[in-house]
Symmetry: C2
Subunit: 199 residues, 2 copies
């Protein structure tokens, strides 16, 4: 019992169910709902409903889309010779900010035998069907065991195609102090060091 009407309690409970939102924060957000401009909140409610009722997966890249083919896949100015393979739609946000101009392919996860996730659970089949004019595939799965396993699987599967396959560089983060870098990253960063000047 919070002393607030059940309708507001329901809003608090809904907010609480979001990842990283605790009970206190949920209360604060729900009380903001009550104080904010009414039309803004009704518009928020409509956008939530729209997001769940109108959004489908793009038939080509499996990113979220309002149409059968998403606005990235249907953009004629994009570089059709490169496909960046990511695990989740969220990853696309980062690449768009980084200025990437090629196409994407969302796997919908990564291989994880322990969790029973095999190639048939991922959008791998449809990637094969998109390779006609592709010259390079950038594998941008996460830098963990599942992501590495998926990268290895994809590169083996594409071995007899004449397509360049690359993986994102691993190393010391930009702005990072060497002191705080873990051993595995430093080892990788050392073995994959980049030439600045020859001789």
């Amino acid at each position: 019992m919070t002393g607030l009407p059940p309708t507001i309690e329901r809003v608090i409970d809904s907010f609480s169910s979001f990842p990283g939102i605790g009970k206190k924060t949920a209360q604060r957000l729900a009380l903001h709902v009550m104080k904010a401009d009414k039309e803004t909140i009704l518009q928020f409610a409509r956008s939530l409903t729209d997001a769940r009722e109108k959004i489908i997966y793009c038939q080509l890249c499996h990113n979220y889309s309002e149409n059968d083919v998403c606005h990235i896949c249907s953009d004629p100015l994009r570089d059709e010779s490169v496909i960046c393979v990511v695990e989740e739609p969220a990853d696309i946000i980062l690449f768009e900010k980084a200025g990437y101009k090629g196409f994407y392919h969302v796997l919908g996860g990564a291989l994880s035998p322990l969790d029973g996730i095999g190639p048939e659970d991922l959008n791998v089949e449809s990637l094969i069907g998109r390779l006609d004019r592709v010259k390079e595939i950038i594998i941008a799965t996460n830098m963990n065991i599942e992501g590495d396993t998926t990268a290895l699987y994809l590169s083996k599967m594409l071995v007899d195609r004449h397509i360049k396959i690359t993986r994102l560089a691993r190393g010391v983060p930009v702005g990072g102090h060497l002191e705080f870098v873990d051993e595995a990253t430093l080892t990788r960063s050392l073995s994959e060091r980049v030439l600045i000047r020859d001789e």
Copy 2:
């Protein structure tokens, strides 16, 4: 541009407009909206709409309510001899958790001459109309200048009524280390010290 459809961008923007929610968190919440159970999200949207379309202010205490009189004011088991005066409905949540069993009165803010907020902007008039069977008024406004000013104003206004007027105790927080308590709190805590054993 995030590479996501405009419908999802609108959800991200809506979440961003909440207090304490940054762009990254908003993205995470919006992507949770896409992954969570569809019916849960539609229910969330409905609860938001309900909260703004059905909730009114209680005619007696000005707390949020689904009816003309809120469920606290219409509870016959509550102690009608005490009214706890708070600034905002959010404060009621805390008192309910603390086990308080009297009634409430929500002022809707605190006096602040600098911000042009005078007694006529607060629910003061309606408090006067509720004092018939009241024996004690607990002033639980915030412990800052505006809250103190409001407490002083209320106690002066009620000076010719035979009602006990109290203010929440100020002092060292429970579990608090003296080392970290500010001077003003310690001074107050010292002058309002509580007797444990006499002689």
